[in-house]
């Protein structure tokens, strides 16, 4: 129910109320009334036809790095 998917903004309406997003080849018009500002190329979280929040590419990269580091054994290399 609270599932939401990250999609890329490809066009924004003149009144800043709606946008076209692309998700794996599918394009859809959604409302961006819940966002303060938005630009083409941003990734937004799409939920029931609305963009809920922008995704931060920097934070996504940081989390992945954290996950990679968490998986490292500080004492020795894990062989299997």
């Amino acid at each position: 129910m609270c599932l939401a998917l990250p999609a890329e903004v490809v066009a924004i309406s003149a009144d800043n109320e709606t946008a076209i997003v692309a998700l794996g080849g599918v394009k859809k018009e959604i409302s961006v009334a819940l966002l303060e500002e938005i630009a083409v190329g941003d990734f937004v979280l799409v939920h029931v036809g609305f963009a809920l929040h922008r995704l931060s590419p920097e934070e996504a990269a940081r989390t992945l790095k954290m996950i990679e580091e968490a998986g490292e054994d500080p004492l020795e290399e894990l062989s299997a």
Binding site: A33, F43, H47, H53
Partner: protein
């Protein structure tokens, strides 16, 4: 898909699992409740529980809005279509949820009621524009994620003068429900459930931020780590909970920083506050009447409130006998503890709400077949 596939990397999952096994103290156990059905679904779909050591257990929480809605409210929605002749629009998850007398929205639709499944409340508004002679009611359910879209729709409907459109509001709030879990006798007194920490909501927190959980973590002395809905998110957040417990900390931490901030989406919060106000109390399946746990439409937008327009009154309806949904929603029981699981109750013919939504614990057990690997209980059932 960008921002999805990276967080499903099997190689990294194995390494994270090894870290969890290394850091989890074998002298104790870790019972961590994932509040959200979205987490429950990910845990089963990707077999995350199987990657955990035996002393690290997920306890499934009530965060499935379809599952916690009391039957009386679904009866109300069916009556709107059958008695008032309204076009009732709702999210797909609601269609099969059992109402009284084993009815459901989908059965009422089959019997001729005009009930339509929509992707978005914007679709319901479009239907209202296209059928000006009919009343169109959006049966709104969900936590803080679906609430801002409902707020935008009600605001726009008033601005546009869309007079045949209204919303039957069943939006509920996450923080009071999490608190209620810690206050149920199962947890607070008899200690039949141990909950050492929580995985906090992903997209609810995108809207409300991480701040609202801070008083809870302090008051109940439990760590809360906000987690994304992908398997690596869930595992990383579990590792963060384990570290907090090992160090004797109980803070709110945020694993899902690519979306969630401490403040959340302020514009969405302001819109919600404009349109909705908190109800004194609301019934949750499994949790009973929970004070200040749901929203209703403010009087200023009363023309778009289906409860006012159709003078809706909700009866209390008892759940089906033997259905363990209420205990399962509190984390007190697991689906396999229910005699109906997989016998009388299946996704094709559900008796309890937890078997309906893909985020319900019973549906997750059933869909991914994990119960088949379990103890011999199935054969006996």
């Amino acid at each position: 898909m960008k921002y999805v596939d990276e967080f499903r990397n099997g190689h990294l999952a194995k390494r994270l699992a090894a870290s969890i096994a290394r850091e989890a103290d074998t002298g104790r156990s870790y019972h961590v409740m994932e509040f959200c059905g979205g987490h429950t679904h990910a845990i089963f779909r990707y077999g995350v529980q199987d990657l955990m050591p035996a002393n690290v257990q997920f306890v499934h929480g009530p965060g499935c809005p379809v599952c916690v809605l009391p039957m009386g409210r679904i009866d109300n929605a069916i009556e709107l279509a059958e008695r008032h002749g309204a076009i009732v629009c709702t999210y797909g998850d609601m269609m099969r949820v059992p109402a009284s007398e084993r009815k459901s929205l989908i059965k009422a639709k089959a019997a001729g009621a005009d009930i339509r499944m929509v992707y978005s409340i914007r679709d319901a508004m479009r239907i209202a524009r296209e059928t000006p002679g009919r009343e169109v009611v959006f049966f709104a359910i969900g936590f803080e994620t679906t609430t801002p879209p409902s707020a935008v729709a009600i605001r726009d409907a008033r601005a546009e003068g869309l007079k045949n459109f209204s919303v039957f509001c069943n939006h509920v709030l996450t923080p009071p429900a999490i608190q209620r879990i810690m206050e149920t006798p199962d947890v607070s007194e008899s200690r039949t459930i141990a909950i050492d920490g929580f995985l906090g909501p992903a997209h609810v927190s995108a809207v409300i931020g991480s701040q609202p959980y801070e008083p809870f973590a302090a008051a109940f002395g439990r760590p809360v780590v906000i987690a994304g809905f992908e398997p690596l998110d869930v595992m990383q957040a579990m590792l963060m909970v384990i570290r907090q417990l090992n160090e004797g900390r109980h803070e709110v931490e945020n694993e899902y920083v690519r979306v969630v901030t401490r403040e959340g989406n302020l514009k969405a919060q302001a819109l919600v506050a404009d349109v909705f106000e908190v109800r004194d109390t609301f019934e949750w399946r499994g949790l009973g009447d929970v004070p200040f746990s749901a929203l209703r439409i403010r009087e200023a937008f009363g023309d778009f409130d289906a409860e006012r327009r159709f003078s809706i009154e909700t009866r209390k309806v008892r759940d089906a006998k033997s259905c363990e949904c209420p205990s399962i929603l509190r984390g007190a029981k697991k689906p396999l503890d229910c005699k109906l699981f997989g016998t009388a109750c299946t996704p094709e013919s559900p008796i309890g709400s937890c078997m309906v939504s893909s985020e319900g614990a019973c549906a997750a057990y059933w869909t991914y077949g994990r119960f088949r690997q379990g103890p011999q209980k199935e054969a006996a059932a």
